[in-house]
């Protein structure tokens, strides 16, 4: 991989492309309501952008964008957003995930559409975080001291 990583052209192209891919991912998430796409696909594409960056610039650099800590928070946040929406519906007297129970707009369909967007964003965040974390974990460690399983000591 080192050959590719050192190619200035590729590094530059990737640097330029990554934000655009991310933007496209956001578009896919929001566009899910009216065309193909949705939270899941968007999340995967966003994740792919970061994975691409990490492949070229190295995992350590990738972790500067999304550190383990951020990753952990993000992956939970997405689900909290989703399940929270469900619970919110319950608070307004509906069933779990019964969007139209929330009195956000007079038209229940409109409320549903908005909350579905929230849910899609939630999915997107979780998927993004988990995809990146999967890649970081599965790809080979870069430094020698990061050896996989030394004897572990309980603090």
């Amino acid at each position: 991989m080192s050959g590719i990583q050192e190619s200035i052209i590729i590094r530059t192209v990737v640097r330029i492309m990554v934000p655009f891919i991310a933007l496209f991912a956001l578009y896919v998430i929001i566009h899910g309501a009216s065309g193909p796409g949705g939270g899941f696909q968007g999340g995967v594409i966003f994740g792919a952008a970061i994975i691409l960056y990490a492949m070229i610039y190295g995992i350590e650099d990738g972790k500067k964008i999304i550190s383990d800590k951020v990753n952990r928070i993000l992956s939970s946040t997405g689900l909290v957003l989703y399940a929270g929406t469900g619970l919110l519906c319950m608070v307004f007297g509906g069933k779990f995930l019964q969007y139209n129970a929330v009195p956000l707009f007079p038209n229940p369909a409109e409320t549903a559409a908005i909350l579905m967007d929230v849910v899609e964003v939630g999915i997107g965040i979780t998927v993004l975080a988990v995809m990146v974390s999967l890649f970081f974990d599965i790809s080979p460690p870069e430094t020698e001291d990061d050896e996989m399983f030394p004897e572990e000591v309980e603090q």
Partner: protein
């Protein structure tokens, strides 16, 4: 092992082919799956009820939103499982 595997595979394949004879023809508009009120309602009412054009999205995030919550949980679980398997430090 290979022979056993072949046998199992042929058994499963045979079952599928056997069942295939009674399967509704593909592309048939009169198939039970398409004629069931569920499908009909999704196609006709989803826009009014959920406010989105994409029926798949409407199903995914609204009618069967709970499945999707489960699906997201599966992803989260996979991430957690890989962390459990491959990380040596606490999260």
């Amino acid at each position: 092992m290979k022979i056993l595997a072949l046998f199992a595979v042929l058994l499963a394949g045979g079952m599928l082919l056997y069942a295939g004879q009674d399967l509704p023809a593909f592309g048939d508009q009169n198939s039970p799956a398409y004629q069931h009120p569920m499908t009909t309602r999704f196609i006709e009412e989803s826009e009014n009820e959920t406010g989105v054009y994409n029926i798949v999205t409407a199903l995914l995030a609204n009618y069967r939103g709970y499945d999707t919550l489960g699906e997201t949980t599966v992803i989260f679980t996979a991430g957690m499982a890989v962390i459990l398997l491959l990380r040596r430090r606490e999260l």
